[in-house]
């Protein structure tokens, strides 16, 4: 892969359809003097197009790998590709061999996922909307339990659907116990459902339910978490590794980037706006329970951690 010019014709032969349909001429290096040719623009757009296929691995596609190499080695080409991405409403998170052209959708981009498209009920039901959002947050929290895990590029997180549900449920139960100790009445006023504590919404929802065709009940919490995991798999953020415990998954580098650079900070900003300032000393707060604590767990859930 050292000589781009020498190798390129071989690709055009391998992918004649691409080179004919997408690029009017074979991609060549930018002309001396920094002039951008249409061919360069086409290549840059092609790289962004690869980035829009999040499940495509650079290691599996020689053309993708070559464009990535060119992005890193040719600053002008890199700027061009960034510009194409920005124009499409995309944010470039990282361009590397492991993550590929990792792009995220801008808020108003046509590529952004809207909650209403994700789950239809969420438009009308604010509780459902919260639960779907929380499911994504919880999946991320368990995929990257320590701040270091989120920071460490080599880290691969592993989650199970039942594990995530059990974890959130347990946290909710702990809040419930705390409220009971304080003698609080956590029942929300019936005319102000929005003031109900968030954990109650999760705790109220059934964990699972029987369906006619033995599939997961979509409205149950495991159903919601399962949907999140499946959706993230489609986004190229998770890889399904098994069917145990409602489905087991492992994270991809892209997910780490997305959570670290986009979602985490975005949610933090919103939280700060609400006047909640979570203080962290940079160490993990996810710890196992003290000895002798055996709250009931969902089947195959595992990990009863404490706050």
């Amino acid at each position: 892969m050292s000589d781009h010019h020498a190798e390129h014709p071989a690709w055009s032969e391998r992918h004649p359809a691409w080179s004919e349909a997408d690029t009017p001429s074979a991609p060549v290096a930018p002309a001396p003097g920094g002039t951008v040719t249409p061919a360069d623009a086409a290549d840059a757009a092609r790289l962004v197009a690869f980035g829009l296929q999040p499940k495509l691995l650079p290691a599996r596609d020689a053309e993708y790998a070559e464009l990535l190499r060119r992005y890193r080695e040719d600053p002008a080409f890199g700027r061009l590709a960034d510009a194409v991405a920005t124009g499409l409403g995309l944010v470039v998170l990282e361009v590397s061999a492991r993550a590929g052209m990792a792009v995220a959708a801008d808020e108003d981009s046509v590529f952004a996922v809207r909650m209403g498209d994700y789950a239809r009920r969420t438009a009308a039901d604010s509780a459902d909307r919260f639960l779907h959002g929380l499911a994504h947050l919880a999946v991320a929290a368990l995929a990257f339990p320590r701040p270091e895990d989120l920071a460490d590029d080599g880290y691969i997180g592993r989650i199970t659907v039942n594990g995530v549900d059990a974890f959130v449920r347990q946290t909710c139960r702990r809040l419930e116990e705390r409220a009971e100790e304080l003698g609080e009445n956590t029942d929300p006023a019936s005319d102000a459902p929005g003031l109900e504590a968030a954990w109650r919404v999760y705790a109220r929802r059934s964990s699972t339910g029987a369906t006619k065709d033995a599939r997961r009940l979509a409205g149950s919490t495991t159903g919601i978490v399962g949907k999140a995991a499946a959706f993230l798999t489609d986004s190229g953020f998770l890889q399904r590794t098994g069917d145990d415990s409602g489905g087991t998954y492992r994270t991809t580098p892209r997910y780490q980037l997305q959570v670290r650079d986009m979602a985490g900070s975005s949610a933090m900003a919103e939280l700060l706006e609400l006047g909640v300032v979570p203080v962290s000393d940079g160490s993990a707060t996810l710890l196992p329970p003290p000895e002798g604590d055996d709250l009931e767990l969902a089947a195959d859930a595992g990990l009863p951690f404490h706050a």
Partner: protein, 507 residues
């Protein structure tokens, strides 16, 4: 010359209360039969010619009579028992005077009560090893027939529990039957509570194994997340060692149980009454439980062996890794934990923000009008919750190679449908069959021979009303094609209603 065997210490036969319990039980049971044998030994001492009488037989008959004649609050009348014993005693020595018959009957009965002894009972001595390994001799006192007070000071006879259990219950068995032996083995296991004990122990061990596995899994999960959260210096190595001991221990036990119970389960195979069926079911259940236990133990063991390497790998990764150049967000501590106590209205804004930025992107679908029509008209894909379609089986018609046709069978059956009061000779049947069809006699002969050993048991179980049978009375068959005995073939009527009643009683 000294014998080397004498120099060696004698190996004691597996002492301990557990091993001895069954032995002691059987010794006590054996003791209950001793008085009966004693009767036959001591009859020589009686003045007179009593050698012709089988005293043990009379004694067992006496015990049976007492058992059958005693009702719940009183017992059997002494004189009545003697009177009922007389026919049997008389049959044993028909040429002896009736007075002697009565004397024998009374002698047997009195000896069963053991009127000669002070407490009117018997004593046997047997030895066991105590829990401390010391051999202890024990007296076993028992009675076979005891006298109980009845109305108005009358004395009645009752058989004791020992007599009923040993002499009525336990001896009533076909001692050569392997199947019964297997059932007894199983029954003994169950009646002594051993099967239930074994099951309980196995279940508890399984529960313990599941607990270990769960603890281990939690620990490993926690280790994967944060190696510092788990005490790998003391608590976890201790737990692993303990769990490995548990696995080794149970593995030995359960393989032993499995070997024994499986034998019992497979040998007690004919289910004739519900009790056997129940025992068999319990044995099968225990086999399943124990198998599951062994599977879980093996699983736990392999996980336990993996735990150490996992810890070291995680420690390498987490503790010795170079600190990351940037610090990440503590997703749980800084987002999940603060969000959950918020009112849902506010919490939703945070989760919405996370969702919008954290779900990735979707390329919008754009459809051409030409495609749209096709898309809209495509029928939805059937959900495949029924699995893959079964392939059409490729059936090959097998050639009909039966020796006799259905029609011939019907004719033969018709021929053999004899009235129950008019059995016929096989020769006559064969001749009649030959007139109808030259092949038919073969079928009739086959059926007749088969009827020589009629499946009475099957007919009994199925509640059939008629049964074809054939008997050989020694007459030779005179037939051009067949030789052998000229069987008498007939139909027996079975008491179907009575059999059904008997069956329901047995169950």
């Amino acid at each position: 010359m000294t014998l080397p065997a004498q120099a060696l210490p004698l190996s004691s036969p597996a002492p301990g209360p557990a091993a001895d319990e069954g032995l002691a039980r059987r010794l006590r049971a054996l003791a209950c039969t001793a008085p009966l044998h004693d009767l036959d030994v001591r009859k020589a001492n009686l003045a007179g010619e009593y050698g012709g009488y089988a005293m043990a037989e009379v004694a067992l008959a006496a015990i049976d009579l007492v058992t059958l004649n005693m009702d719940f609050d009183t017992g059997a009348d002494h004189e009545q028992i003697v009177a009922r014993l007389l026919p049997r005693v008389a049959a044993q020595a028909p040429d002896r005077p009736a007075a002697e018959h009565e004397r024998v009957a009374r002698w047997v009965l009195e000896n069963l009560i053991n009127v000669g002894s002070v407490d009117r009972g018997f004593r046997a001595i047997y030895g066991t090893f105590g829990p401390d390994g010391v051999y202890v001799r024990r007296d076993y006192d028992f009675k076979l027939i005891e006298e109980v007070p009845g109305y108005g000071g009358a004395v009645y006879l009752r058989t004791t529990d020992e007599a009923v259990n040993v002499l009525v219950g336990a001896l009533d068995t076909d001692v050569t039957s392997a199947q019964i032996a297997a059932e007894v083995k199983l029954e003994v296991l169950i009646s002594r509570g051993r099967l239930a004990d074994a099951q309980l122990a196995a279940e508890q061990a399984r529960y313990r194994t599941v607990q270990y596995a769960e603890t281990l899994r939690r620990t490993l999960d926690a280790t994967r997340r944060n190696v510092r959260a788990v005490d790998w210096l003391q608590a976890v190595p201790d737990m692993i060692a303990e769990a490995l001991d548990h696995v080794a221990d149970r593995y030995r036990h359960e393989n032993a149980i499995l070997t024994n119970i499986r034998k019992a389960r497979d040998e007690a195979d004919a289910v004739l009454d519900s009790k056997t069926a129940e025992n068999k079911r319990r044995a099968a259940e225990l086999v399943d439980i124990v198998k599951d236990c062994i599977r879980r133990h093996t699983q736990l063991q392999s996980r336990l062996l993996d735990a150490g390497p996992l810890f070291r790998a995680e420690q390498d990764r987490q503790a010795f890794a170079a600190p990351a150049p940037r610090s990440g967000i503590d997703l749980y501590g800084q987002l999940v934990a603060p969000v959950l106590p918020l009112p849902v209205e506010q919490a939703r804004r945070v989760t919405d923000a996370f969702f919008a930025a954290g779900t990735g992107l979707r390329t919008p679908v754009s459809v051409r009008v030409a495609d749209l029509v096709e898309i809209l008209l495509t029928p939805p894909v059937e959900r495949e919750h029924l699995g893959v379609e079964m392939p059409e089986p490729d059936l090959i018609a097998t050639p009909d190679d039966s020796r006799f046709s259905e029609e011939q069978l019907a004719r033969a059956m018709e021929l053999l449908d004899l009235p129950h009061d008019a059995p016929r000779r096989l020769s006559g049947l064969l001749a009649q069959a030959r007139r109808a069809d030259p092949d038919l006699p073969y079928l009739v002969a086959l059926l007749a021979v088969h009827a020589a050993s009629p499946a009475v048991g099957t007919a009994y179980r199925q509640g059939e009303e008629r049964l074809l049978f054939a008997v050989d009375d020694g007459t030779e068959l005179d037939d051009p094609e067949f030789g052998g005995a000229d069987l008498i073939v007939g139909t027996a009527l079975l008491d179907a209603a009575g059999m059904a009643a008997a069956r329901s009683e047995a169950s």
